[in-house]
Amino acid sequence: MPTSIAREEVQRLIRDEGGLLIEVLPVAEYQDEHIDGAINIPLKGLGPESTSGLDKARPLIVY
């Protein structure tokens, strides 16, 4: 079950465990402004193909 976390935990996961931020909003919103270092996989396109390159062991943080 996915865990809900706050900002400090996001920072800790990135810093200490190599966490990857994923913005799931549409492309245009991501391009306007996103958290530095985040990649974009819009929710509509979230599937086996768009996630095939992601490391299953790595902490993934969606927002």
């Binding site: 306007d32 402004e33 996103h34 958290i35 929710l43 993934l60 969606v62 927002y63």
Partner: protein, 185 residues
């Protein structure tokens, strides 16, 4: 959207998934790094100075006066252990009264003399918008906080004006260079 995305990732076989529920608005409001087309537009958190002296409710004025003055300030920001802003003590105001007032006040606690609930602005507020507010109220500075009320720093009107002027000068220079076919580097 993010809860649905988190669950979808789980169905795709990912097990190490977290949902940052408060999202990028929370991140930006804390003045943390951002990227993208609009990222270069200056915000309050970009320009706020992060050198405030802070104190707690139970501190005595006599204990903080020297600390504040040594830092070259005239104000102490009252915060909780978790850095949430509660109030402000202006040392100049404390020391400005007659001898009896000063003597009584230096023995008081911060809680007894502070200005409670000072006006604040979020770190992701557009700098131009904050400058308009400061100018309209003829105020020299404003405290900047995160969305959960934690102190980021103090934004000074002079710093905001300087940053916006720099930005306009840069835009003007870029505009001139783009329209001049003869300009060389």
């Amino acid at each position: 959207m993010s809860p649905r995305a988190a669950w979808r990732l789980e169905t795709l076989g990912f097990t190490n998934i977290y949902d940052y529920v408060a999202g990028k608005a929370d991140w930006f409001a804390a003045g943390l790094p951002r990227a993208g087309k609009l990222a270069s537009i200056p915000r309050a958190g970009d320009v706020a100075r992060r050198d405030d002296v802070s104190c707690q409710l139970t501190d005595r004025i006599s204990d903080i006066i020297n600390q504040v003055r040594a830092a070259g300030k005239d104000t102490c920001i009252v915060t909780t252990d978790g850095n949430v802003v509660l109030g402000r003590v202006r040392i100049g105001a404390v020391a400005g009264g007659g001898e009896a007032t000063v003597n009584a006040t230096v023995n008081a606690t911060v809680e007894e003399v502070m200005d409670s609930g000072p006006t604040t602005a979020r770190a992701d507020t557009l700098l131009e918008s904050i400058l308009e507010r400061l100018s309209a109220r003829n105020v020299d500075s404003i405290l900047i906080t995160t969305s959960d009320g934690r102190l980021v720093g103090t934004l000074y009107r002079s710093d905001a004006e300087a940053r916006l002027s720099e930005g306009r000068a840069e835009e003007s220079k870029t505009s001139i260079e783009e329209s001049c076919c003869c300009c060389k580097d």
